[in-house]
């Protein structure tokens, strides 16, 4: 089975029923997407398939036909994605475990809506749980990221 992840091709030998998350983490070595619940209830595993946010813990790898993007594919130290930059500036993360999923949901939101309202943020981010309660900073960072993106930074 061939997967395209963060612009790279990987040949893997996996049960097609294996969730994409475990193929990414155990077979390919992409540990950015996190395991939180296994039932698409917390969003920690969020990645993009062809630009759409999906919960990789509940998508069988056999059905993951498309370009997959993880947190490791959107930016890196030195050339951060505007959403990552905003997260850094707002000092969003506490334990940090849910943040890869939060950021991937936020990136997808801003690709869809350049200047999201609070209601847009509530709708797009409601599936991403944070037990540290970083929500006020997530909201602020999404607004800051929207501004950074619009300014082309």
């Amino acid at each position: 089975m061939r997967l395209t992840v963060d612009g790279q091709s990987f040949d893997i030998d996996a049960d097609p029923e294996m969730p994409l998350l475990w193929a990414l983490r155990d077979l390919i070595g992409k540990t950015g997407p996190k395991f939180g619940c296994g039932i698409a209830a917390c969003g920690a595993c969020t990645v993009h398939v062809d630009g759409q946010p999906v919960r990789s813990c509940s998508l069988p790898v056999g059905q993951a036909t498309g370009a997959i993007t993880t947190i490791e594919g959107i930016g890196a130290p030195g050339k951060l994605h505007p959403v990552q930059q905003a997260w850094l500036e707002e000092q969003v993360a506490q334990c940090g475990y849910c943040q890869a999923g939060q950021i991937m949901s936020a990136v997808a939101l801003l690709d869809e809506v350049a200047d999201p309202t609070d209601a847009d943020i509530d709708n797009a981010m409601g599936g991403n749980l944070c037990r540290c309660g970083t929500y006020p900073k997530i909201r602020a960072a999404i607004k800051k990221a929207a501004a950074l993106k619009t300014a082309g930074l």
Binding site: W22, L27, K34, I39, A41, P77, V92, Q94, T134, P136
Partner: protein
């Protein structure tokens, strides 16, 4: 408050825990300094000054911050303590957790373990605090908890930085032939202004580290702080926004296997007639091994990948023995209710409560029963650990709040010497008290024994995690008050029954020790509040239910904040006093408490009327040495009650990083509100009924209120930060709902009585 005589008669459980630890590490004599654990493991050209500072010849400066980073920002604040005195910027240093070592014992974690309120500064209370600090060293527990890390580190980490700086200056003085008094330091260099000569720390590090440590270490005055007291950029932020592999679950080793566990869903029960054949034959499964630890019984599944292990765990067919405890929530509630009828241990007993109620007119008495449920920690990162047993050496990688205990218990379970065990402590995806426990590390260690030298990463499913916690115990409380003619309470009698956290913890960690005496965590947050009431009794009763219970963010205060402050609100209503004014009157002897209540009331414009359909509630709690007032505003909406805004004022004595403190206060309030709104762990047939976030959820972003926070520094002793926002959150919300609806809800979660938007 208790006298020394009373303490001696009763003993108290934290002492039992300390003795248990002392048995294990008793050969560490109190006054003997610990060896520097960094000495054996230095890179080429690297020198170490003390357990907290390493400097390389290339001027790479490494600070060891030996407390668990679970989101509370402690690795940043501890590093700042050293950096401040070492005169280096935070961006110039590398920060490491460092090895498991008794040198990193936490003295402050036990300091408040005695039966004294934080504000009790009597000679007895201070003597016990000092005594327990000694116990802390004797026990040598490298632990993160009790909101104690900054208080424990504040002097020793600053001293570590200052001592290293003085040694570097002395070495530079020698090398340059200049008097040390004429040298200055800045940004990792030593300068001689007059001649313009300078040396980096790295250039003199080797010589400096060989010098004797200074006999006298001088610390900066607070006024001269450049980093402390100001918000810093967290050292872990970049890794956390780029998905870097920093958590236990991200560990990857050559030749690594994967695994999971299937533990008995009935605590302590053994499997009866297990059929492993089907699971063993599944693709990718390597081996299934029985697991037996002080936490219970079950199976470990070793496989080629985590998914294969999860599938095999589902396929194991087993019966489990009957539970040793009441099997369902109704039966457990019955035991708690019955316990409440017993005579409790009075941890506070002012005046003569019995007499005050004996002649009270019926219309002056108010009574109420309160209850809270068991709760899971539900950290975002499920329990996991990676272990490798090769050539008689165990390496274990995991996020944990007590590395020396991980080392000790893993060595015990494998029958090894502790010096053959190396603990690699990672960042943790949430702790909240869950990662004080050792179960996930012990399971991984046992599974490594069956893996023929290969490392095994053992990841629990969310369902295993939810159903095998050391839960926040359920608790019930019986409350009565006698009001005076002025509406103020003349007498208050509070009795609280709950399974004992300390007894439960001892059974798991030190099963050979029997718990003695009452457990003050049952009444923490109720017996130790800064209110003066002439007749004031708070009694604890340990209820005999052996479902595992442990430390859950703010421990006893998470229960008693709700009980005490809910009942105080009832007293205010019955006595027709304003809840803020009532508290200010009762806490008049404690100006720090009055100041936070006044501050939070001013922030929230408490005295101004709200439009119809909106209401506010307030609560106060002193916990972990910090004084916190919270006000919650709720609104009635067609979809249910919406929490609109929360104001928090907290006096932490000395605020070392206001940015991190504000984040922690909001975090802890959301943690408490999440539980109050909808969380409960219930039991049927001896098993936990909840399994995942669909039936044990937490606040979501669309429910999150706006926050406004004020940090005060009035009190003369430093308090903790990580847990203090939780205790007042639930009662402030419940009191706001009463103000909105007239419905007094005395049982959590509130969602059983009202709907939330």
């Amino acid at each position: 408050m208790a006298s020394v005589g009373k303490i001696a008669r009763r003993t108290f459980l934290i002492g039992a825990a300390a003795i248990a630890g002392g048995v294990a590490v008793g050969y560490y004599y109190y006054r003997k300094p610990f060896a520097n654990p960094l000495e054996g493991d230095l890179a080429a050209g690297e020198a170490t000054f003390n357990p907290y500072v390493k400097i390389g010849a290339d001027n790479t400066i490494t600070i060891v911050a030996p407390r668990a980073e679970m989101g509370q920002g402690i690795s940043t604040t501890l590093a700042v303590m050293v950096a401040e005195e070492l005169d280096v910027g935070l961006d110039q240093v590398k920060v490491e957790h460092g090895p498991a070592s008794y040198a990193y014992y936490n003295a402050a974690i036990l300091e408040e373990g005695g039966p004294f309120a934080f504000f009790d500064e009597s000679r007895t209370a201070e003597a016990v605090r000092a005594g327990l600090g000694v116990v802390g060293k004797f026990l040598a527990l490298q632990g993160t908890g009790g909101s104690a890390s900054t208080r424990d580190g504040f002097n020793k980490m600053r001293q570590a930085g200052a001592a290293a700086r003085q040694m570097l200056i002395a070495a530079a003085a020698q090398k340059l032939g200049i008097d040390a008094a004429d040298l200055e330091t800045a940004n990792g260099s030593i300068l001689h202004k007059a001649s313009g000569k300078s040396l980096t720390y790295g250039e003199v590090a080797a010589n400096a580290a060989a010098m004797p440590p200074p006999a006298e270490v001088r610390l900066k005055d607070k006024a001269d702080w450049k980093l402390l007291g100001k918000p810093q950029k967290r050292i872990d932020m970049l890794a956390k926004v780029t998905g870097a592999p920093i958590f236990g679950i991200d560990v990857r080793l050559p030749d690594m296997l994967y695994g999971t566990v299937k533990m008995s869903p009935r605590f302590w029960s053994r499997p009866v007639g297990a059929d492993l054949a089907k699971a063993e034959k599944m693709p990718g499964v390597i081996k299934i091994v029985p697991l037996e630890t002080n936490y219970g019984h079950g199976f470990g599944i070793i496989a080629e990948n985590t998914w294969a292990a999860f599938k095999a765990a589902e396929a194991i067919e087993t019966q489990w023995a009957e539970p040793e405890y009441p099997p369902d929530s109704a039966a457990i509630a019955g035991v708690l209710k019955q316990a409440l009828g017993a005579e409790g241990s009075a941890m506070r007993d002012n005046g003569d409560v019995a007499k005050a109620f004996a002649d009270a007119p019926r219309e002056k008495i108010i009574e109420a029963d309160y209850a809270v449920p068991y709760l899971a920690h539900a950290t975002m990162e499920p329990m996991n650990a990676t272990a490798r047993l090769k050539d008689g050496v165990l390496d274990i990688w995991c996020g944990n709040q007590a590395p020396t205990l991980v080392r000790q218990l893993c060595a015990n379970v494998l029958g090894m010497e502790q010096d053959r065990v190396t603990v690699h402590t990672t960042f943790m995806g949430g702790g909240f008290g869950r990662r004080v426990e050792m179960d996930y590390a012990l399971c991984a260690a046992l599974m490594a024994k069956a893996a023929e030298g290969r490392p095994v990463k053992v990841t629990w499913t969310r369902e295993e995690d939810m159903r095998h916690d050391a839960y926040r115990p359920a608790a019930v409380g019986k409350f009565r008050a006698r009001l005076g003619d002025d509406g103020l309470p003349v007498a208050v009698d509070m009795t609280i029954a709950s399974p004992s956290v300390i007894a439960g913890t001892l059974r798991r960690l030190f099963p050979s020790i029997s718990p003695l005496g009452p457990d003050k965590t049952i009444v923490d947050g109720a017996y130790d509040q800064p209110y003066t009431i002439p007749n004031y009794r708070v009694s604890a009763i340990a209820a005999p239910v052996t479902i595992p219970v442990g430390s859950w963010r703010s421990v006893g205060s998470s229960i008693n904040g709700f009980f005490h402050e809910g009942f105080l609100d009832e007293i205010a209503v019955a006595g027709k006093t304003d809840p803020v004014e009532l508290r200010k009157t009762l806490m008049a002897a404690y100006p720090a408490a009055v100041a936070v209540v006044e501050k939070v009331a001013a922030m929230a414009k408490w005295s101004e009327a709200l439009p119809a359909g909106k209401a506010k509630g307030m609560a106060f709690s002193l916990s972990f040495g910090s004084w916190v007032g919270e006000i919650v505003q709720v609104a009635d909406t067609p979809a249910g009650i919406r929490i609109e805004k929360v104001w928090i004022a907290a006096d932490v004595g000395t605020a070392l990083d206001p940015g991190i403190i504000e984040a922690q206060l909001i975090s802890a309030a959301i943690y408490g509100l999440s539980a109050a709104m909808g969380q409960e762990i219930t039991f049927a047939d001896g098993m936990v009924e909840q399994s995942n976030f669909h039936d044990f959820d937490a606040m979501r972003i669309f429910q999150c209120p706006a926050f406004e926070v004020a940090i005060l520094e009035n009190f003369h002793k430093m308090g903790g930060v990580g847990e203090i926002g939780t205790p007042p959150a639930a009662p402030a919300l419940a009191n706001a709902i009463f103000a909105l609806t007239g419905k007094r809800i005395r049982t959590l979660p509130l969602s059983k009585a009202v709907a939330f938007a």
